[in-house]
Subunit: 147 residues, 2 copies
DNA sequence: ATAGACCTTAGAGCATACTCTAAGGCAACC
DNA sequence: GGTTGCCTTAGAGTATGCTCTAAGGTCTAT
């Protein structure tokens, strides 16, 4: 019934190396060992691992994931702490998503410029302006001679 | 008119260290030096630096940003390459945003559980199930005795 | 009983992106 | 001319998260 590390890795999409690294880092204190000292992942373990991967995929650091797992291992008395941790993370992720969306808008603006039929001319004009900046300041001009 | 590295750092929000690191990494070939060998950032340089920061903030790697800057330094003949690079990046960022949103949904699900008035009971039930997984597989139970 | 595929650990190595230190040059003011 | 504050470089150090190697134990089938 339980999965070997190889099977668990295949199921969750992480490498065996990464699973061992996570275990060493204190993220998998719940994974039991069989009589030979081999890790044995149960379905319940895979569910918790899934949560760990969600936290990782949203950018949570190993240290913070460990804190979450420690709350889980401490039982239902830590529900408030878990809620606070996840809420804080949720807001941080949302804020980062918004920031990325903002930056992406500017990249889209650049992209629109490059997609314009007159792109070459527009770019050449930008370049000429940058070039003049240098001349006006009596600085060597890295853009000189570029079209 | 041009900005010292200190002024440029203050304006763009990066540290002086980071600006020097970027220069060393080939991201700032356009920044000129004054008679004393000091970097002199023009307004045109700041605009390009802004683009670099947008790319960085959306997770582009230094190596790829350098490629983009090399296209810029090669003039308007590289418009097609720049467009391709930005489009590819744009799609990668969008895909990652979607992936994060997916993972966030699962975290929200967990959060809803913790926000339930019956949270402690629900969590205790999860825990009991995980505990039974271990028992059924004749494995040491890390959850034993936790409420 | 031996080959092969699996597992274990400790610890080294790597990639990325900074971050800082050391040693020293330049420029302005008292 | 000395102090102060800015700048330069090379290169070392840090943080994070893997990724891999070496040495060795276990299990299964032939």
């Amino acid at each position: 019934m339980p999965y070997s590390i190889k099977a668990a890795a295949a199921r969750c999409g992480l490498s065996e190396y990464t699973l061992r690294y996570y275990d060493k880092a204190g993220l998998l204190p719940f994974v039991a060992r069989d009589a030979s000292g081999y890790r044995a992942f149960t379905d319940g373990d895979m569910a918790l691992l899934h949560t760990i991967i969600c936290l990782k995929n949203t950018g949570m650091r190993i240290d913070d994931i460990r804190t979450y797992i420690q709350y889980v291992m401490a039982g239902s008395s830590t529900v408030a702490e878990r809620r606070a941790l996840l809420q804080k993370h949720r807001e941080a992720v949302a804020a980062k998503q918004r920031a990325i969306a903002e930056n992406l808008k500017e990249i889209d603006y650049k992209l629109a410029l490059y997609e314009d039929p007159q792109a070459a001319q527009l770019v050449a004009r930008e370049l000429a302006a940058a070039s003049q900046d240098k001349q006006a300041a009596n600085l060597p001009d890295a853009f000189a001679g570029i079209h």
